[in-house]
């Protein structure tokens, strides 16, 4: 049981990272992309090849994976991102499948027994989950901070403008194409890094595991929490992984069919769109219109909690 909770923590972390990337693409810039499984796949392969074939360090594979996924994102982004909503969705779906097909054709069996990652002499072994949880969630924290900063900067604001109205954004001097491509490349790179972490944990890579299902799961994660809200996306990752491990957690693996989780994801997408399209936590209100400094905000936060306490007492 504890084992499954640890597993959930690990996979929730990996999906949270992927979802932060997807959120940059779909939540901020408003592009419905369905090829995150492809970027995930590229990252996993980068780690596998660097660690296994070249025998180099896992840490080196991180920037390589980010670059590779980002580069692929750039190559496919330049032509496809001028497509509008529905068409973009289908085109990226196709691209995700192409990446997987190419990976399958180049190396149908994948890689196994990939060397373990190590840090300051400590070797991460799949048996010990707690170090992995710490490692992965450290990455989640880093990406969370990086992307929150992005969202609250002029760059993130421009992405939101693109999401809200492309024509108006152009007329405000915002280079729509540039922001669309940057956000796509950033999202892709983050997806690649999630792939590295997954490989570091499983130490095997199989082309069969980067299906369309993964892309939908990531999308579901973003939609569930709330598009454009980084905190919500992390919450979404927990819920999605919880659903995924529901049979094991409840011990009902024989009763609950293997497809149950996919059906639940499907239902979640429909129900969320019908009842709460803004997600559980809703959109970040993007308080750029908040003139306080970070210190002032902090002071206000404590002030408020003090007030709240005082109120109760």
């Amino acid at each position: 049981m504890l084992n499954f909770f640890q597993l959930i923590l690990i996979y929730a972390g990996i999906y949270a990272i992927m979802a932060i990337g997807q959120n940059c693409i779909t939540g901020y810039t408003g592009m419905l992309s369905l090829c995150h499984a492809g970027f995930f796949c590229i990252g996993s392969y980068a780690t596998a090849i660097i660690c296994k074939v070249f025998g180099l360090s896992f840490w080196l594979s991180l920037p390589v994976a980010a670059l590779a996924a980002g580069l692929v994102g750039l190559l496919i982004g330049i032509p496809t991102l001028r497509l509008k909503g529905d068409y973009l969705c289908i085109a990226t779906l196709g691209l995700g499948e192409i990446i997987r097909n190419v990976a399958t054709n180049l190396n149908p069996v994948g890689f196994s027994q990939i060397p373990r990652a190590s840090l300051f002499g400590y070797e991460f072994a799949s048996r010990y989950k707690v170090p992995f949880i710490i490692l992965i969630w450290a990455f989640v924290l880093v990406f969370y901070i990086l992307f929150q900063q992005l969202a609250h900067s002029r760059l993130g604001r421009a992405m939101v403008a693109v999401r809200e109205d492309e024509v108006a954004a152009q007329s405000n001097g915002i280079n729509v194409t540039k922001y669309k491509i940057s956000s796509f490349v950033l999202g892709a790179a983050v997806g690649g890094i999630a792939g590295c972490l997954q490989t570091a944990y499983t130490l095997t890579v199989q082309p069969g595991s980067y299906t369309f299902m993964v892309s939908v799961m990531v999308l579901c994660t973003v939609v569930l929490g709330g598009m454009g809200n980084a905190k919500a996306v992390i919450l979404g990752a927990f819920i999605i992984q919880f659903i995924s491990y529901l049979p094991q957690l409840t011990g009902l693996t024989n009763v609950i069919p293997a497809q149950a989780k996919q059906i639940i994801y499907g239902l979640l997408l429909v129900v969320m769109m019908l009842c709460r399209p803004q997600g559980i936590l809703g959109r970040d209100k993007y308080r750029y219109g908040d003139p306080r400094t970070r210190m002032e905000k902090l002071a206000d936060f404590f002030h408020r909690s003090k007030k709240a306490k005082g109120g109760r007492a």
Binding site: T26, L32, Y87, N101, L219, A260, G266, P277
Partner: protein, 308 residues
Amino acid sequence: MSTLTLYMQYIVNGLTLGAIYSLIALGYTMVYGILKFINFAHGDILMVGAFIGLLIYNGLTGGEAADPGAWTLIAFFIAMIISMIACALLGMLIERIAYKPLRNANRLAPLLSAIGVSFILSNGAAWIFGTQSRRFPYPFNNEPIHIGAITITPHQIVVIVVSVIMMVLLTSFVSKTRMGKAMRAASLDQSTSMLMGINVNRVISLTFAIGSALAAVGGILASFDFRVYPSMGTMTGLKAFVAAVIGGIGNIQGAMIGGVLLGILEAVGAPLLHIPNGMRDTVAFAVLIIVLLVKPDGILGKNEREKV
């Protein structure tokens, strides 16, 4: 066999494939014409149609064990009609539950909802029927007929004949009947047609019903070649979508032409370019993306620009 007859043979095979794509593409195109959105779940409706058809046919005849004869042929058409009705109802139900409330929502919402529906249908089917693929037994004697050097199997003839009948019926429905005219009006301008007293909700329901019924036929006809399994709709559906785009999405004649064109291209192109089996899907997706990029308006489509 000379090269010419070889290609004639490919074209015959391509026509069969293309007829199926056309039937399915019609559903995409009709829905897009009115709602300006891609019904992601359409491919899965085709799969449901194939399953229903197969189950009813097997129930009526005993399946593989039955000797092809008059009864099996009748049973086949009964199964097809019941499957069409069932899918029409399913399509209407999906529209009512998952799309209608989102008609005024932002444009990502119905698309996400459609992806959800598609997931529910394909995985639901995998749950109920299992993931193994099943053969759809031929309800007639499928001895190949040789015309000169070209071989045509009766199932190809059935596929083409049934598709042509369906398309003729649809074309006359859309151009002759009141409801068909209402449909065309709604696809041109929804709010104006509403002001003209057209019940747009009914038109949309009907569009989904017709599209889904055609998908059911397409699914059953496709299952002779492709077998029946829960994820059969994904690839076939996507190819049909490409067909709809090639023909000009939103255009009914375009979907028919696009489907046949894509079928022939696939049947002729794959052997001509020596595309290995494993790469076929990759090539199909690449073609899809190229079509979207180069000719998003299709052959018969009109260039739609956003009014500023």
